[in-house]
Symmetry: C2
Subunit: 164 residues, 2 copies
């Protein structure tokens, strides 16, 4: 990975230069990433006209903004679930909304009609709005996030995926 | 890494459940990350009240939003330069604004007064606004991002850091 570093005060032409270099390499089919250190201002990667957006426009597939209190990585594509998991370093990974991944899951629902669509053999626990009136569905425990958290945690630890 | 997966339709209580689980583990000092698949809507990690923001509030140190066309990782802290570089996979990495890192650099400036503060023994090229009127400063070439791009690329490739 070739690392190209430019510094300079505000309005000195850094971004113009680095955009030109980004265009040069991305037009050759190279995978270009850009990291920008942001002092004081809030980082908003999606805002049109901002420097970070300009790097995306110039062909950078990953733009990183580092502010005083947070750091944002912005890929201009949808990463696959496996890519996502491969990039995360944590003790616990919370996953929400990946319906098509075959792995142990908790199903949340408002009522039993919704459950019929979502419960499968990977489902070890049911929660959400339905837990205000039910405690069991087809042999699967229905647990409330506030009242039954200890039982939920016990199920999570005996059923969830552990990935090194 | 323990992976906990919840699915369900909108307003079913997924985020309430996963926030409670996030609070449970983060209060134990565990490093928690949250990944959310977002269908259709635009992902704005910083907006107050959004689900992704709620995971940060519940103690998740990394929140990931995956939309149809982009993917955003949001750490609630400033990553170090070495951490950033370690997380990037690319052919070319553009780095802007990291004044304190000791590595080969291009200095951009509006005038020669600014150069006095920024040029050091790591500086192999000068560019930016000053390149409209100068071509050399203390033996270092001053090159224009549009007019002199081939020379800039040649200098970049002979001076920049290459990191495997």
């Amino acid at each position: 990975m070739l690392i190209i570093n430019a510094i300079g005060f505000s309005q000195s032409g850094k971004t113009t230069l680095l955009e030109a270099i980004t265009r040069h390499y991305s037009s050759q089919g190279k995978l270009v990433a850009a990291i920008k250190d942001i002092h004081g201002e809030e980082f908003q990667p999606d805002e049109e006209g901002k420097d970070t957006w300009q790097y995306s426009q110039a062909g950078a597939q990953l733009v990183v903004g580092r502010g005083p209190r947070d750091t944002i990585f912005h890929w201009s594509r949808q990463l696959s679930f496996l890519e996502l998991v491969g990039k995360v370093v944590a003790d616990v990974l919370i996953v929400e909304g990946f319906k098509d991944e075959q792995m142990p899951r908790i199903v949340c629902s408002k009522d039993s009609e919704e459950l019929a669509d979502l419960v499968d053999s990977c489902t070890y626990c049911i929660s959400g709005v339905i837990s205000e009136e039910s405690t069991e569905y087809e042999g699967i425990p229905v647990l409330n996030a506030e009242r039954d958290l200890p039982q939920i945690i016990a199920l999570v630890e005996s059923h969830s995926v552990v990935c090194e």
